[in-house]
């Protein structure tokens, strides 16, 4: 099993993405970008579902995670303890996951352009399929970060970690947010 991704035109977000929060976050991002003070405080109410990231490291997926909201997809899958540890545990991901998901992150940070993409990977034997909205933010001091909002399509059951640090999927059902508006990307 490998990880795949597909980048969609950002216009697809407004045309075909059924997720209202994603559309609202994009609208807020556009509005903040026109503010000379670059104030992103409008994101704060959405922060429970957001990730904040810096430049990705290819061989250490999620090591660039600076903040993980308690209702974010990552916390829902891996739990709060995992989300809080700064080192994270890259062993939970497919070997190529960091490289594949890092491409869009790096592109968005370098160009300061938003990215709307689709990611298909796995955790253990379980599929992990989702769409992402990556929004680059630049502070008044010129520092750049990424705000990420993930929209799960198919997730593994809640992952727990044994003493071996190998991921183990629980048997409780996992909900997803929406159906995939880009079925061709599943193929």
């Amino acid at each position: 099993m490998t990880t795949t991704s597909e980048v969609f035109p950002i216009s697809d977000l407004e045309k075909s993405c059924p997720n209202r929060k994603a559309k609202e976050l994009f609208r807020l991002w556009r509005r903040a970008g026109r503010d000379p003070e670059a104030n992103y405080d409008a994101f704060i109410p959405y922060s429970p579902e957001l990730l904040l990231m810096c430049k990705p490291t290819k061989d250490k997926p999620m090591s660039n995670l600076l903040f993980c909201g308690r209702d974010s997809m990552a916390t829902r899958i891996f739990g709060e303890d995992w989300a809080r540890t700064s080192g994270k545990n890259p062993n939970v991901f497919a070997p190529d996951y960091g490289e594949v998901v890092g491409r869009s992150q790096a592109f968005s940070l370098e160009t300061l352009e938003p990215v709307y993409d689709f990611v298909s990977s796995h955790v253990g034997q379980e599929p992990m399929v989702y769409e992402r909205l990556l929004l680059p933010v630049k502070t008044v001091a010129g520092l750049t970060f990424l705000v990420c909002y993930s929209m799960p399509l198919e997730l593994p059951d809640r992952v727990s970690f044994g003493s071996s640090d190998e991921p183990q999927c629980d048997e409780s059902p996992q909900k997803t947010y929406c159906s995939n508006p880009h079925p061709a990307a599943d193929a």
Partner: protein, 81 residues
């Protein structure tokens, strides 16, 4: 007196008292424009974003949870110089 300590690849703000550390932390947040992202953490941990409502334990928690953010800001700040 506040110092920056690099340990195990991370940068920490070190000071004798929480007031010193928090003052330095607040300065960094203001200097680097990190207030929105610190508010993310406050909203998660405390359910509000009012810095003046934090007690000493909350301040310690906030500094600890924002350590990756401050570390990244210091690194980017260095690279810009």
């Amino acid at each position: 007196m506040v110092e920056y300590l690099e340990y195990a690849g991370s940068i920490f703000v070190v000071g004798e008292t929480i007031d010193e550390r928090f003052a330095e932390f607040s300065n960094l947040v203001k200097e680097f424009g990190l207030s929105t992202f610190v508010s993310f953490v406050m909203f998660k941990r405390f359910g509000h974003t009012e810095l003046d409502q934090l007690d000493d334990a909350d301040k310690e928690t906030l500094i600890e949870e924002c350590q990756p953010l401050v570390h990244e800001a210091l690194i980017q700040g260095r690279n810009m110089q």
